[in-house]
């Protein structure tokens, strides 16, 4: 029996059509738009101004607090301006806009392809390096990695969990790096283990990636302490809490963090970025992005410099299909619909998904038939139909006592509902309102 998380979950069509496409390097953009807030937490402070010359890998915005990180130029050229640009959520945010000239890298970056296995840095030094190089969680949440590695006083991690689940339909960027950068990921894992001072790392990979499981099982045999666990395909297994439950059967308490049960979860992409940061001195300036969709001419996985407009990826794959209805930053379950194709790729962009017109629109909402399916599939054990009704009635205290804040916004409820009710829309509204009320209460 393959492991999985026991409560709730759905199995949407996997549609991993770009899984077979090897990673290709996308040509440099002519202009790079690098937002100063690409991570969860405080936006970074720009350290360059209009007219400055920058090199690849040079810091252009500095961390402004503990939960924040550095941002580096992904290209070489001249800073055109620092101005508002539309980000993936449709908000205007400050970005450093650079006209690209040549491709000159910072000399401290080791660009050789050789695998560098040995490392001698101490735990705290690793964490410093990770912060310096602007590494954040690459699974989508973009939580600064150094924060996750700095275990709070009085707590202790005993296991590192590496997330190679990639449970979102369509997306294949993690799958590809697991096939093509496996050695680097293993070294990255060892570095993370050192930083956390743990002896054990578990890599969870869903069973729909047998090739990746094979590659990693072989490597794990040679590297004591690292284990590979194939998992039954089930969405949202990539959610931290679900993955921890599936692998080590510990339940992160409501409102708590994984460290409360002694676990730290990192994405495989993050492990690769940590390897590059620590071993090669290379900041997080590029990442692998899947460009996919049923009507896309050439579904692909591109190695893309941060700041490249989404439009350039689409061009490289044969242009926007005629029947396009929606362009999504991320996967179909949790991704964000883009309102402009000029939006840049950021640290959190794992894929761009193009959905045809026919599937882009929502179906008409019908009456709730109280079938309880939303409740059955909710991995957090919530009652989505109830949270929606309570939100509609503005009964915020009840929304709170029914634990809306536990919702991980996985979308399983809305996906499943036979009456096509926009459950998650309302639950989000409920969550935001309740958080505001709680903050107001604390003041």
């Amino acid at each position: 029996m393959l492991k999985t998380f026991p409560k709730g979950g759905v199995h949407p069509p996997e549609n991993k059509i770009s899984a077979g496409a090897a990673i290709e390097t996308l040509p440099l953009p002519t202009t790079a738009t690098i937002p100063i807030s690409q991570h969860l937490g405080a936006p970074s402070a720009p350290t360059v101004k209009k007219g400055d010359k920058v090199k690849v890998g040079q810091i252009i915005a500095q961390s402004t607090g503990f939960v924040s990180t550095n941002i580096h130029s992904s290209v070489s050229g001249t800073v055109q301006k620092i101005d508002d640009s539309i980000d993936a959520s449709g908000y205007k945010r400050k970005a450093v806009i650079i006209s690209v000239e040549g491709d000159e890298w910072d000399e401290n970056i080791d660009r050789s392809p050789e695998l560098k296995k040995e490392f001698s840095l101490s735990g705290p030094d690793i964490i410093k390096k990770v912060l310096e190089n602007g590494v954040v969680g690459l699974g989508g949440a973009t939580f600064p990695t150094h924060v996750k590695l700095s275990v709070p006083k009085g707590m202790k991690a005993d296991v590192l969990i590496l997330n190679g689940v990639e449970c979102e339909p369509y997306l294949t960027s993690d799958h590809r790096i697991m096939l093509e950068k496996a050695d680097e990921i293993i070294v990255g894992t060892q570095i993370l283990m050192k930083a956390l001072d743990v002896k054990k790392a578990l890599i969870g990979i869903e069973n729909n990636k047998p090739d990746a499981i094979e590659v990693f099982s072989k490597l794990a045999d040679k590297n004591p302490g690292i284990e590979v666990h194939p998992l039954k395909v089930q969405y949202p297994q990539g959610g931290e809490k679900q993955l921890i439950k599936a692998l080590i059967n510990r339940e992160v308490p409501s409102g708590g963090l994984p460290i409360a049960v002694g676990a730290v979860v990192q994405n495989v992409g993050t492990a690769l970025a940590v390897y590059e940061a620590v071993q090669k001195n290379k900041p997080l300036i590029e990442r692998v992005v899947s460009l996919t969709g049923k009507s896309v001419k050439k579904p692909a996985n591109y190695l893309v410099r941060i700041g490249t407009p989404v439009a350039e990826l689409i061009e490289a794959s044969g242009g926007l299909p005629d029947d396009t209805g929606k362009v999504i930053n991320g996967g179909p379950m949790m991704g964000k619909a883009l309102n402009s194709l000029e939006v840049p790729v950021t640290k959190g962009t794992s894929g761009i998904l193009i959905i045809p017109e026919l599937e882009a629109r929502r179906r008409p909402v019908q009456n709730c038939i109280r079938c309880a399916r939303c409740t059955q599939v909710c991995p957090m054990g919530l009652e989505p139909y109830l949270l929606m009704t309570l939100t509609q009635k503005s009964m915020w205290d009840k929304v709170e006592t029914n634990h809306a804040l536990d919702c991980i916004e996985c979308g399983s409820c809305a996906y499943t509902c036979p009456a096509d009710r926009p459950l998650l829309d309302y639950i989000r509204l409920g969550k935001t309102t309740v958080s505001k009320l709680i903050r107001a209460r604390k003041q």
Binding site: K7, R370, L386
Partner: protein, 331 residues
């Protein structure tokens, strides 16, 4: 690349289930029982089913169109069809047409629409219709045509149901073992060769429908199993205590509306609890009440009342029995 893009929050993909598929799935699951009723009750069963279904649909349409003045009338969603068939399943096959129409009207207008339509009603609409008829027209509602009266309709030969026969005999002081020859054997009870409401007679056909609904994941097993399990255990205890004055559990399971109620009426999504734990409580409640009414009450059959009574408790159950949350901090 100047194309208008659709913007909406996640998720961006949807499962292919729909209210329609759920409802028509239930309809398909009812087909075996329907065929058995046609086989045993003939023309009467066909007339009854057609009348109930057509009038349920017509009333749903008229009310939505002219009273609620809805722009889009949703009679194709299958829910009125389910109610119509379920109502027919709960009536004797020789019921006069005008009573069927009255029953359908009460089911749809009072049982469903007065509460706001699909999903809003606390009580199972078909049962509201049936119980209304039972109380208002007790004579017509309890004269059951004997199976095999294929071409007879209103003039079919009638008799009592096995449950009524046993209840009457036990009241008169006869022992359960001595009256077994008055009632059909267990094989006949399984197949449906007995007097009764249209859809309740054949345990086999109902179980096939149950299996189909489980397979399609329309319902879970919890409600039917807890209803039937409770009936078996409760009546079993009574029977063990005194086998002379009590019917055995198999008899209770196979007669009356036990199977129909457990599989198709109690599982009505709208009127049953949302959590699995709540569903089990609901099912146990129905089982207990059914036997209490059958054994100690005035009526020979108690499934409909038991379900309606438990329907009334559903909001309470939903309020207090919550699914177990992930990472629940035990205080």
């Amino acid at each position: 690349m100047n194309k208008l893009l659709t913007i909406s929050p996640s998720p961006h993909n949807y499962g292919d289930d729909s209210t329609k598929k759920v409802m028509y799935g239930v309809v398909i699951a009812m087909i075996p029982a329907m065929l058995v009723s046609f086989f045993y009750f003939g023309i009467g069963a066909v007339v009854l089913t057609l009348t109930a279904v057509v009038s349920a649909l017509v009333f749903e349409y008229l009310i939505q169109k002219f009273i609620l003045k809805k722009k889009e009338v949703s009679i194709t969603d299958g829910s009125a069809l389910v109610t119509g068939i379920l109502l027919a399943f709960n009536l004797p096959s020789n019921l006069p047409i005008h009573l069927i129409i009255i029953g359908a009207f009460v089911a749809i207008a009072v049982g469903k629409m007065s509460f706001g339509g699909l999903g809003q009603n606390p009580f199972n609409p078909a049962l509201v219709g049936r119980v209304f008829l039972l109380i208002s027209f007790p004579v017509q509602m309890t004269s059951w045509p004997k199976p095999g009266a294929l071409t007879a309709y209103l003039d079919a030969e009638t008799g009592a149901t096995p449950l009524a026969i046993v209840k009457e005999a036990l009241k008169n002081g006869e022992s359960f073992s001595s009256i077994t020859e008055k009632i059909p054997g267990y094989a006949d009870l399984m197949m449906g060769n007995m007097g009764g409401s249209l859809g309740e007679i054949s345990a086999i056909a109902l179980l096939i429908g149950f299996a189909y609904m489980l397979f399609r994941k329309i319902i879970t097993w919890h409600i039917p199993v807890s209803v039937l399990g409770t009936i078996a255990i409760f009546s079993g205890i009574l029977w063990l205590v005194n086998p002379e004055t009590n019917a055995d559990p198999l008899f209770h399971l196979l007669t009356g509306g036990a199977m129909l109620g457990a599989i198709f009426m109690a599982t009505d999504m709208v009127t049953s609890p949302m959590s699995i734990k709540g569903q089990v409580i609901f099912g146990v409640g129905i089982g207990v009440l059914t036997i209490v009414i059958r054994v100690f009450g005035a009526y020979p059959e108690g499934v409909s009342f038991a379900i309606l009574i438990m329907n009334a408790f559903v909001p309470l159950i939903n309020a207090y029995v919550k699914p177990k949350r992930f990472g629940e901090v035990v205080k």
